[in-house]
Amino acid sequence: MRKIIGKILPYVFTGGICFALIFPKLALSANASSLAVENLYPSPTGVIATPYGGNIESLTLIKVYIPLISKTFPPDPTTSWYMETVNTEMLLSLGCQLGNRDRELSGQQDSIVILDFDSPTYTSGVYGANLFGYGPVSTSAVAAAVKFFGAGYYNCVYPDRASTIVIAVGTNNCDSTTCSGAAIDGEYYAHGAAWAVMVNEIGSYFVTNGYYPQVRAYGASDIEVGWNDYYTTRQWVDGYDSINNWPMFNFGDAEGCPQVRTGENSGCANGWYQYTIWYVSGRGGVNSSSPLPLIYAKDGANGRQWYSLSAYGVDLQNGRLELQGAVTQHLACSQRICPPGTNNSPQEGYINLYSALNSDPDTSQPLKWSTDIGYSGW
């Protein structure tokens, strides 16, 4: 017996060491997740209903690391920010945080970060953003802030020059009655164009200074059906689309939209229809927008709403609506109060949306990004 053990033991030892070397992240997946976000999130559990009835098993968070391949599912989420300041020192630091994170994560990262500067403003002839009640600030100030964020990332991600980020420079469609700082009645188209000019300037800066393609800036708007009507919102999107050199994202909602494939242009909340959300989310590639929606509901409703929208594209337009990823508000809900059932973790939100889209072969698609948003502070 001792002879057999003596012969086998070296091979067992070697095999164990090799396994641990090749697959270290199986042991460290929980800790690896904590690099990406401020809070640890539990693995999602439970079943997810499909639009056709019946359930599918929820997809379990699995992190497997192989030296040459470092893909995780769901993707490591980034932290996005509701910006309450344009302090360049803070923006440099936030960018550096993300750079550190991408450098420390194994393999090449491809991430999105939303910097949401709040409602559009037009004050004393100057276009800008509301900064959640701490503004307004001009688009020049917003541009400066984003450039510092990009510089912070670029500095701190070194020597990793393979990872990339897209900075989505965000505003929203909240009207001046709901959000008193929003002061652009009658100027939505012009503000959209001004926002595109700002994003063009930021993008040119990154190109000219060699940050691109590692660092890019796109436009973005949190388009929520309950905040404004379609016709006003569309003016902003059309204004952006008139002069932009860079894409934009709609990181809003589809409140009240159906959660099953209807085969028709169904109604949503506040007078919106699926056609109108499809329009502000890119018109199937005709304009420069694409959806990166907020997936907040723990019951899976948001994933199903966007599945229904993607299927609308198949049934009545030029093909399935292509989505970029999922946004959650778990951090924001840990900072301010949220109603129960609206604080998906980034993993839950991503799997929610991915499962719904891939429950139907006509809408089946990959989802590139995952990000969770919170308040920046000062």
Partner: protein, 241 residues
């Protein structure tokens, strides 16, 4: 006996060699190949492809739209050329854009309609109005409204903004379900709140961060701290949006 010892030594020697090779390959694959500086920078990325796709989708009869997209493609071809000729900062060199410092906008105090910014999503809460003031040197915003899914539950939410750091939030539902709350007047930093039924009047003391019984009741100021708040589920199930 000596042959057995030699055989065991050979086996352990091979094992150690394999481990060493594994460590070296881990280092090579993980830290060099995965993070290597790309030899060629792809300056024609997805952006120009997006505009080419748009051009293909725009009807031939829509000349003005086609012209605009063609101009964007031309602009991108110029940018791609700049990108290829730009010298990226590859050394560990800190770059900092040079810009004029922006002074923060003044914090205007008073009572205002709606919410100060898009804090609460439309599917979450209807904020009737808000108060902005300075309390103990800190900027404070007090929100008054009700939950969308439970409109009978009015609440006050308070955000305290430190000079540096994250905002501190507090949530103060009305004890009775009186509908949406609204700030109708102020006396210093004591707010007079009316309920949706126009019958009930409440008082909220901002320094004390609590409802009080009257406009003149003396209370001890509180220090805002992050209180883990959970909303108790109501009998109304959270409806599917």
């Amino acid at each position: 006996m000596n042959e057995r010892i030699d055989s065991k030594r050979n086996i352990w020697g091979v094992a150690i060699l394999i481990v060493a090779l594994g460590l070296v390959s881990m280092l090579v694959f993980q830290f060099v190949l995965a993070k290597d500086i790309p030899a060629n920078r792809n300056c024609e990325g997805t952006e120009i492809e997006m505009f080419r796709t748009q051009l293909a989708l725009i009807p031939g009869s829509d000349l003005s739209k086609r012209k605009k997209v063609e101009e964007k493609i031309t602009a991108w071809e110029t940018m791609a050329a700049i990108c290829k000729s730009a010298t990226p900062v590859t050394d560990i060199q800190i770059v900092t854009p040079q810009f004029t410092q922006i002074s923060p906008a003044p914090f205007v105090t008073g009572v205002f309609e709606g919410q100060p910014g898009a804090y609460f999503h439309a599917f979450e809460a209807k904020i009737e109005n808000h108060w902005k003031g300075i309390v103990n040197g800190n900027r404070v915003i007090v929100f008054a409204g009700a939950w969308v899914k439970d409109p009978s539950q009015g609440f006050i939410a308070v955000q305290t903004a430190p000079k540096k750091g994250k905002p501190i939030w507090g949530y103060y539902p009305s004890a009775a379900k009186l509908g949406a709350l609204r700030i109708v007047d102020t006396k210093g930093s004591r707010l007079i709140i009316q309920s949706a039924n126009d019958k009930d009047v409440l008082f909220f003391d901002v320094p004390a961060l609590s409802f009080v019984n009257s406009l003149d009741e003396v209370v001890t100021p509180s220090t805002p701290t992050d209180i883990p708040v959970t909303i108790q589920p109501t009998n109304i199930p959270y409806p599917v949006p």
